[in-house]
């Protein structure tokens, strides 16, 4: 149980800056997920926290105490690695007890702690086995068990589920969430999978190119992404973007035209945008529907149709070759090659200005 505070944390590797001044505070008992595309710095940030990498500048505080000068083991953290990193020549018991052995705990204490953790993770039967005699899911549990026995203030997970098959991943996702409730401790979890992030997190940290783009609760990120990147990253299938420009700006009342011809009017703060400014309109696939109800209309030719029964995905290409995808709840009888008209309601859209930042509609 601990609070964590990052202040202006930067990291460069041989002159290349990979983390640019990260500021973040994590509450006690929170489940925080770092998410972003590969190479965005999320794993590096986790390693900086763990102490496996040294900061280039900035401070890290855990429970109000500065820790960035401490070696990994003295920060009170435990980490679960992507490849599990179980010691192959040791049994499950030895793997789980290694940290305690290094810390010179008594035999009884080690026994008690390992058995308690094994109980939680249903590993009791497997304590005498070597890692190579375990399945992927069991190895994963041992890796978590190794973290639990240390009774850490914070658990760090580095893409722990990416080596598991899809079914097991869903199961482990639920188990981890339950574990979090059971252990009542702070957990930080790195993944590139936004579904994992959305389902597990209390708080999501979206990263790109070493910058923290947005921090917030999953639905907050979904409903109010601060910029075009977060909007495109969170949500599956990804949001559709339509380019366009402002054609008239008058005291906070604007008129815009998309490159595909759709026109719309909106209000926002005066002076935010000027005529001729480039804009992006983001529409989620579920907000783009094949009917005439919406205010904005786009015609597209279906390039692929996926009819799954309960839902239908249609991939469309607009007259100016913009690709878009619609998500329709229920079945939709559309053939590939067919031309259909889709519409959207402006209220459910997201508008991004020339700097790709979110612009709130005003009434």
């Amino acid at each position: 149980m601990a609070t964590i505070e990052l202040r202006d944390v930067t990291k460069d590797f041989g002159g290349v800056q990979v983390i640019h001044g990260a500021n973040l505070s994590i509450e006690d008992n929170e489940f925080v997920v770092f998410v972003g595309p590969s190479g965005c710095g999320k794993s590096t940030l986790l390693r900086l926290l763990s102490g496996l990498e040294e900061l280039s500048s900035g401070e890290i505080h855990i429970d109000g105490e500065r820790v960035d000068h401490l070696p990994p083991a003295r920060r009170g953290l435990a980490m679960v690695f992507q490849s599990y990193a179980l010691y192959p020549h040791m049994t499950v018991f030895q793997n789980m007890s290694y940290a305690l052995k290094v810390a010179k705990k008594s035999k009884q204490e080690i026994e008690a702690k390992v058995h308690a953790a094994a109980e939680i993770l249903q590993l009791t039967e497997l304590l005498d086995r070597k890692p190579k005699a375990l399945s992927g899911g069991q190895r994963q549990r041992v890796a978590i068990g190794r973290a639990i026995v240390r009774d850490p203030k914070v658990f760090l997970f580095d893409e722990p589920l990416s080596n598991l098959d899809a079914k097991l991943r869903v199961q482990m996702r639920i188990e981890l969430t339950n574990l979090h409730q059971q252990l009542q401790s702070t957990m930080i979890y790195v993944t590139h999978d936004q579904v994992e992030a959305m389902t597990m997190a209390d708080k999501i940290v979206v990263m790109r190119n070493g910058h923290i783009e947005q921090v917030g609760a999953p639905l907050e990120l979904f409903n109010k992404p601060v910029n075009k990147f977060v909007a495109g990253f969170i949500g599956s299938p990804a949001m559709n973007f339509f380019q366009g420009k402002i054609i008239s700006a008058n005291e906070g009342a604007y008129e815009a035209q998309l490159d595909n011809g759709a026109q719309f009017k909106f209000k926002t703060k005066a002076g935010l945008l000027n005529a001729e400014d480039k804009i992006d309109l983001g529409v989620r696939p579920e907000d783009l529907q094949p009917n005439q109800d919406g205010s904005g209309k786009i015609v597209g030719k279906a390039t692929a149709v996926e009819r799954l029964g309960a839902q239908t995905y249609v991939y469309l290409s607009s007259p100016i070759k913009e690709s878009m995808i619609i998500h329709h709840a229920g079945d939709l009888d559309v053939q590939s090659g067919e031309e259909i008209e889709v519409s959207f309601n402006l209220e459910s859209c997201h508008l991004f200005g020339p700097d790709e930042q979110r612009i709130e509609f005003d009434g």
């Binding site: 763990s50 496996l52 070696p71 990994p72 083991a73 003295r74 953290l77 435990a78 980490m79 690695f81 992507q82 490849s83 990193a85 010691y87 192959p88 020549h89 290694y98 940290a99 290094v102 810390a103 190794r146 240390r150």
Partner: protein, 279 residues
Amino acid sequence: MSTMNKKSGDLGTWLMHIFLGVNAVIMLYPIIMMALSSFKTNKEIFSSPFSLPQSFSLDNFAVIWNETNVPRYFINSTIVTGLSVLVLLVVGTMAAYALSRYKFKGNIMISLFFLSGLMLPLRLAIIPLFIQLKTLGLVDNLLGLICIYTAMSLPATVFIMTGFLRSLPSELEDSARMDGASEFRIMVEIMVPLITPAMVIAGIYNAVPIWNDFFFPLIFIQSPEWKTLAQGLTAFFGEYSINYGVLYAGLTLAALPIMLVFIVQSRRFIAGMTAGAIK
């Protein structure tokens, strides 16, 4: 290749087996001859060199045990080979560990320095080496041989071990660091146990030439009590007569330990040879 393995009846497989079988016979024949001859008398060796011995009498071995210095040479060779390989594995593994697991300035230079040792034959430096050992008072001393052998075998050992150590995932190291283990402890308890196949390879690879070496003892050892086995066996080559039966018995004894080590460790040796290729 996989198709060749599957069809055991096809021509390629047969040819391969015949080739390997002939090769094995050629390799084993001298060894078997040596072992068989060690049971024969000198007269028998000349009268019927290719037949089986008339009786498996241990007379020749008794002569070796009772009348020659061979047991003493045996002990000397064991000490020299054993200690050389031990020091070699400890020092070589530590050097390879530092070179393969840590980034530091001069890392590549030191690696290349070790590699250069593979290219230079040590015998070229025999005169300066002799002067050096003489100054250190290590001539006619087993310790001198141990120093030379360790130095001589270090490049190959570092080369083999670095390859293996590089292949270990760094997450293991990170994990042990999170567990609070010191760098030394990580090496000894986590990493080194995982490269025992490599240590077996490096050990056997270096033990064989050290055990069989004739050149360095010939130059550095004079006293009969410090002679090694390969060197000591030359005592049987008399000026006028050679007792072949006893010589063969001595050679058989000399070859035995390495063969035993190899047979016991061969599974690991082969596993280690291929381990690097797969992962």
